[in-house]
Amino acid sequence: MAKVTLKGVKKNYGPVKAIHGVDMEIADGEFIVIVGPSGCGKSTLLRMVAGLEAITEGQIVIGDRVVNDIEPADRDIAMVFQNYALYPHMSVYQNMSYGLRIRGMDKADIEKRVQRAAEILQLQPYLQRKPRELSGGQRQRVAMGRAIVREPSVFLFDEPLSNLDAKLRVQMRLEIKRLHQQLGVTSIYVTHDQVEAMTLADRLVVMNQGRADQIGTPGDVYNHPATTYVGGFIGSPAMNFVKCRIDAGKAVLDDGVTLALPGGWTAPAGSYTLGIRPETLRIARPEETPDLHLDVDVAEELGADTLLHGKIGGQDVVARVPSNAGFHDKSRPGLMVDISRAHLFDNESGLRVAV
């Protein structure tokens, strides 16, 4: 087990800058999830830690060794790939033991380690099978078994659940979580799925076009998004962004809707982007004067909740309300905004504005 430190890590492909400089300290035994859309550089970052991509600039430290010029096999890491990358012609046992055999480990020790990993992953009945005779979930477990037998100080996961169906994904997510609790090995996990990210992570890294926009606990990232990008990426449905002017303790939206700001807000007067999560909008009770009215285009019923898609002053807004409120397409409910849970961002940079 080991800490991992990234110091100003950059990656260029010729003139194209893929990673603009990431700094991060990963504590021993921590579970870090790197999340972001495709092409944001999250896999590249992981592959640099693995040693599969060269580091253009900066340093990666695993334990107390700078590993920039160390071969992947010698970095004391193990990696689980999205498509499992099992050797198709080898049995499960051979797949799991291959790395150990190359290291010239003693047969009895190999046997012991493989049996133990198989036990943890409930793979004992399948040890003599070929990967093609296994289901997707079993293959993924074999891939994890191959990582476990190495007893590395860092686990790297590259979107390991993306090839599984939705139900299996939930199940394997739990298994990974359990495995991490059991083994306590430092893990770096790449995904584009925000549910995986939120549920697995001790800390999240939200990547955006080669930059780490925010590094923090899931709660932190959800409740205090550092940029509009993070606010929009984490949370489903995505956060609503409306342009507004702040003046004299009030936020004025485009169509003249005025929202009173909580007393503590001290942002200087000017133009801002207001971030409002769909779940912080609620239907106004009959005795209340609604903060605003939403012109609903489409009401998407999800069962417990209904998503009302509409417009406020020409800007798209989604509200999540209980289904029993009974609003449908083309309705015009009055809504209350929980402004104390709203977020204020700079119009230009998209950065969070302290309020």
Binding site: A50, G51, L52, E71, P72, A73, D74, I77, A78, M79, F81, Q82, N83, Y84, A85, L86, Y87, P88, H89, Y98, G99, I102, R103, R132, R146
Partner: protein
């Protein structure tokens, strides 16, 4: 879905049957001719039903070789076939080894002028043996390899076709497999032998079939290299048998020899058919 129309169906079958007859009839004739005595075969028209001498004629071809009246000396088919077998297997195995290695280098290594070398290999696809035969002969002669197995085999071993096929296959092997092997600590040659070659075995089998037949059917090159009867191949010998002028040919035995010459390639194809088709059609990943 394929349309089912009786007329089209019947027509299709008719065409297929016609083609099969065209292809199979000469072979049938050879077998028939090999099964009669020389007197029967010499009649006009030649009998079209099998006779009783097939085993005897083939055995004579195999162990004695046909006697040509007026031409002295004859090599039994068993010697010729052994030569052909050595040549065909050496060419097939040699081609596979060299092509595997060169495809491995081209796909998995970065070296200067890599593309240049690939295209050089690729261009030789367009140059059959016949085009480069004179310089090749000169080199083989200068090396003192005339009338040797080495001389028969070596110049035919380099193969653009096989290199290209293996290259295509290697490129379909997922990168993650290479990376997983790297993380497992397998060096390049370890990866090659432990992972790449086992994955390629169906393609190797397909290549073996193709190249065995290619080697077996070589005519021009052995014709130049093997002037000594000891190194003649069976294809070559059959060609020479019917060139003797004014000779009285022992047709049933010659035909028996022709049938014998057919057998090994047919056997290779039949035995390896399953792998052959698999190797060309599917990739196991």
């Amino acid at each position: 879905m394929i349309e089912r129309r009786p007329v089209a169906n019947a027509f299709g079958h008719l065409m297929l049957v016609a083609m099969i007859v065209i292809v199979a009839f000469p072979i049938y004739l050879a077998v028939i001719a090999a099964s009669h005595t020389i007197q029967d075969v010499s009649q006009t028209p030649m009998p079209l039903l099998p006779g009783a001498e097939l085993l005897e004629n083939t055995a004579r071809a195999l162990f004695d070789g046909p006697q040509l009246v007026g031409v002295s000396g004859s090599t039994p088919a068993i010697v010729l076939m052994m030569n052909s077998l050595i040549m065909a297997i050496s060419i097939a195995v040699g081609k596979i080894i060299i092509s595997l290695l060169s495809a491995f280098a081209i796909v998995y290594f970065r070296f200067p002028l890599k593309n240049f070398f690939f295209w050089m290999i690729f261009i030789t696809l367009m140059l059959p043996v016949e085009v480069r035969i004179i310089p090749t002969y000169k080199i083989v002669a200068d090396l003192g390899l005339l009338d040797t197995y080495t001389g028969l085999v070596l110049p035919l071993i380099a193969s653009a076709t096989a290199t290209f096929l293996f290259r295509q296959f290697f490129m379909t092997v997922p990168d993650e497999l290479v990376e997983a092997a790297r993380i497992d600590g397998a060096g390049p040659m370890r990866f090659f032998f432990d992972i790449l070659v086992p994955l390629t075995r169906t393609s190797i089998a397909a290549m073996f079939v193709i190249q065995f037949i290619y080697g077996w059917n070589q005519y021009l090159w052995p014709l130049l290299i093997a002037s000594d009867y000891k190194y003649q191949t069976i294809v070559l010998a059959i060609g020479r048998l019917i060139r003797a002028p004014d000779a009285f040919y022992e047709w049933p035995v010659i035909m028996g020899m022709a049938v014998l010459a057919l057998l090994p390639p047919v056997l290779v194809v039949v035995l390896m058919q399953r792998w052959f088709v698999k190797g060309l059609v599917e990739t196991e990943k």
